[in-house]
């Protein structure tokens, strides 16, 4: 994936540019209200940037929205399910809307159910699901068309330790298969444990864009948390 992005007048995000690469997990780190969600929403095309462009596998999301989205799996911040449909039907619905034929969708759902450990509730109605089960179904829904790029907006919100570990394994598996994974978070430990690269956002700007190791080296801080605070502190000072 080759994503470059530049935004103008939007208050939330200003002249933001970064690239997330295939076979890597990129973390978008920032405090609440830093512009992470806005940035991701422009990336999957539900918000239009005032200026600048976002590309997925070199395809402009504004120019060829449908084509670009076919390469993209999205787990939005609000990942609600249809309560009256079963987990399988929820996933199948999105598969159909991606234009996948019935047979392929079925085998794909069986595979995802196994990988994500959803077999026990795959045919139950989503109404009674726990937050962890919900996220699993929403993730399966985002992956049903086997996209090359996956965008997740704060996926660990509301998950318990066990579910977070499952999610982490899932993202590492996607990375191992050469997928490009981009996720946002405000939890530094999470990013430090999982990401190859980290993009730190503050006040709608990129404050740092580097590997986790090089950020630590640059700032000379021992933990990413301290590095994060330092990076943030510098710009505060400039402002």
């Amino acid at each position: 994936m080759n994503l470059s992005k530049r935004f103008g007048a939007i208050e939330a995000v200003r002249d933001l540019s970064f690239t997330a690469r295939d076979g890597e997990i990129t973390g978008l780190l920032g405090a609440n209200g830093a512009g992470k969600s806005t940035c991701l929403r422009m990336l999957y095309g539900v918000l239009t940037p005032d200026s600048g462009r976002a590309c997925i596998d070199g395809i402009d999301i504004r120019g060829e929205t449908s084509k670009a989205r076919a390469h993209l799996g999205v787990l939005p911040h609000a990942a609600g399910l249809y309560g009256n449909l079963t987990a399988r039907e929820n996933i199948h619905y999105f598969g159909s809307l991606h234009g996948i034929d019935g047979g392929r969708s079925r085998s794909r759902i069986t595979e995802l159910a196994r990988v994500l450990g959803m077999e026990s509730f795959i045919d139950r109605r989503a109404k009674s699901f726990s937050q962890g089960q919900r996220i699993k179904v929403a993730l399966a829904r985002a992956l049903v068309h086997d996209p090359g790029n996956i965008v997740l907006d704060e996926p660990t919100n509301g998950l318990d330790v066990m579910a977070i570990r499952n999610l982490r394994d899932m993202l590492l598996a996607l990375k191992a298969r050469g997928r490009c994974v981009l996720f946002s978070s405000h939890v530094m430990q999470e990013v430090a444990a999982l990401c190859d690269r980290v993009v730190i956002i503050g006040h709608g700007k990129v404050l740092a864009d580097a590997t986790v190791q090089s950020i630590r080296d640059q700032s000379g801080a021992a933990s990413l948390e301290e590095a994060f605070l330092q990076v943030l502190g510098e710009t505060e000072g400039v402002n």
Binding site: K67, R69, V74, P76, A78, L81, E89, F94
Partner: protein
């Protein structure tokens, strides 16, 4: 197109499992009208029978002061109950509902009557109660009859032709045909049919828009490689399907009600049989996409289920406006009115019920006008769904 049918199939299926949608689409919406209508007509029937057959009941106080009047009332078949009440007691009794009407004859009645000056009587009744108002009118007519017969006698005794006191003779000629009279009642019926159409799609329209947002499934849906017009189209189509089911059920229920309610006894004739019900279905069919698009459009602007419910219950009243307007100004079927949706359906259905000839052109204009408005609303809805603010 494939995506549109996927959305349609999913919305249709999902709501088939939702008790609230089913209750409103298949039970409350279609059956409310026919049941209320049946009750209303049978109540009217009972009232009419009561009025013409039952003797007038009157509580009379001070009958000993007016023996002539009392005899006259009894001769007219009025059932008198004698009591001794003061004016205040009588008012309290009527207000409390203990007795419907009280006739008070005061002490000065006798001397005044003998002196041939107006002799006072008091008729105590509650005019806010439609039932006793009718009885009071009957009592007034009988009392008037007594007064004029006494007046005629007095004139005769004085050697004056009593006809001099009747300068104008009024004869009522009622031209209302049995069907024409039925139309007042049937105006309600056509509204109930349109109400059933809207009610059938109410919850689906909410669930597929505000519900999608409240559940948090909207953003994922909007990030799919599917044209927004396909999403909107599928949702409106599913709403249409529920509205059609509701319409069919409502008409079936009406046919059953008409079968059991003897309208002829009210001096009305309106035959709603299977044939006319099918014609009604065809007349209302173009109103279905209009209703579905209108409800989806309005619900698309709301943030929550509750908010959508508030706005859409107002939308339920929209078809009443032209119908109410039509009955206030007693509009007759006219080609120019066929451009107004809901009013045109009302007028066409009324014409069919009255067994009047319906011009084919009117039917086409009515359908085309409704479909045109539906199309405009669909385009507006799709445009709204393309906007960023849709995310909320």
């Amino acid at each position: 197109m494939r995506a549109l049918f996927t959305v349609f199939a999913k919305e249709f299926m999902e709501n088939l499992r939702d008790r609230r949608t089913l209750m409103s689409a298949l039970l409350f919406g279609p059956l409310f009208g026919p049941l209320l209508f049946g009750l209303m007509v049978s109540r009217m029937l009972n009232q009419n029978v009561a009025l013409s057959d039952e003797p007038l009941k009157l509580t009379i106080s001070g009958s000993e002061y007016a023996p002539g009047l009392t005899r006259y009332l009894e001769a007219q078949g009025v059932k008198l109950t004698k009591a001794n009440l003061s004016e205040n007691e009588a008012q309290a009794a009527v207000r409390g509902g203990a007795v419907p009407i009280v006739l008070i004859i005061p002490k000065e009645y006798g001397p005044r009557f003998s002196a041939a000056t107006p002799a006072p009587v008091l008729l105590v009744a509650d005019s806010a109660d439609s039932q006793t108002r009718k009885s009071a009118d009957r009592a007034r007519i009988i009392l008037g009859g007594y007064a004029s017969s006494i007046a005629q006698l007095r004139l005769q005794v004085r050697g004056v032709n009593p006809l001099l006191a009747v300068p104008v003779a009024v004869n009522d000629v009622d031209v209302a045909t049995p069907t024409g009279r039925a139309v007042v009642v049937l105006g309600f019926m056509t509204y109930f049919v349109l109400f059933a159409v809207l009610m059938g799609g109410l919850y689906l329209a909410i669930d597929s828009t505000a519900g999608e947002r409240e559940r948090g499934s909207l953003e994922a849906l909007l990030s799919l490689p599917v044209a927004r017009s396909s999403l909107v189209g599928g949702k409106i189509l599913a709403t249409c399907a529920y509205m059609c089911i509701s319409l069919a059920l409502s008409l079936t229920a009406f046919v059953c009600v008409f079968h059991f309610v003897p309208l002829e006894r009210l001096g009305m004739s309106a035959n709603l049989n299977t044939g006319t019900a099918l014609i009604f279905f065809a007349i209302c069919l173009p109103f279905v996409p209009l209703g579905a698009a209108l409800m989806t459009f309005v619900a698309s602007f709301t943030r929550s289920y509750r908010e959508a419910q508030t706005y859409l219950t107002t939308v339920l009243l929209v078809p009443t406006l032209p119908i109410a307007f039509a009955s206030i100004y007693s509009l007759k079927t006219r080609s120019s009115l066929m451009f107004i949706p809901s009013l045109s359906q009302h007028l066409l259905m009324t014409s069919v019920l009255k067994d009047e000839a319906v011009a084919a052109l009117d039917v086409w204009v009515s359908a085309a006008a409704s479909l045109a408005v539906a199309l405009v609303l669909m385009v507006l809805t799709a445009r709204h769904w393309r906007r960023e603010t849709m995310l909320g």
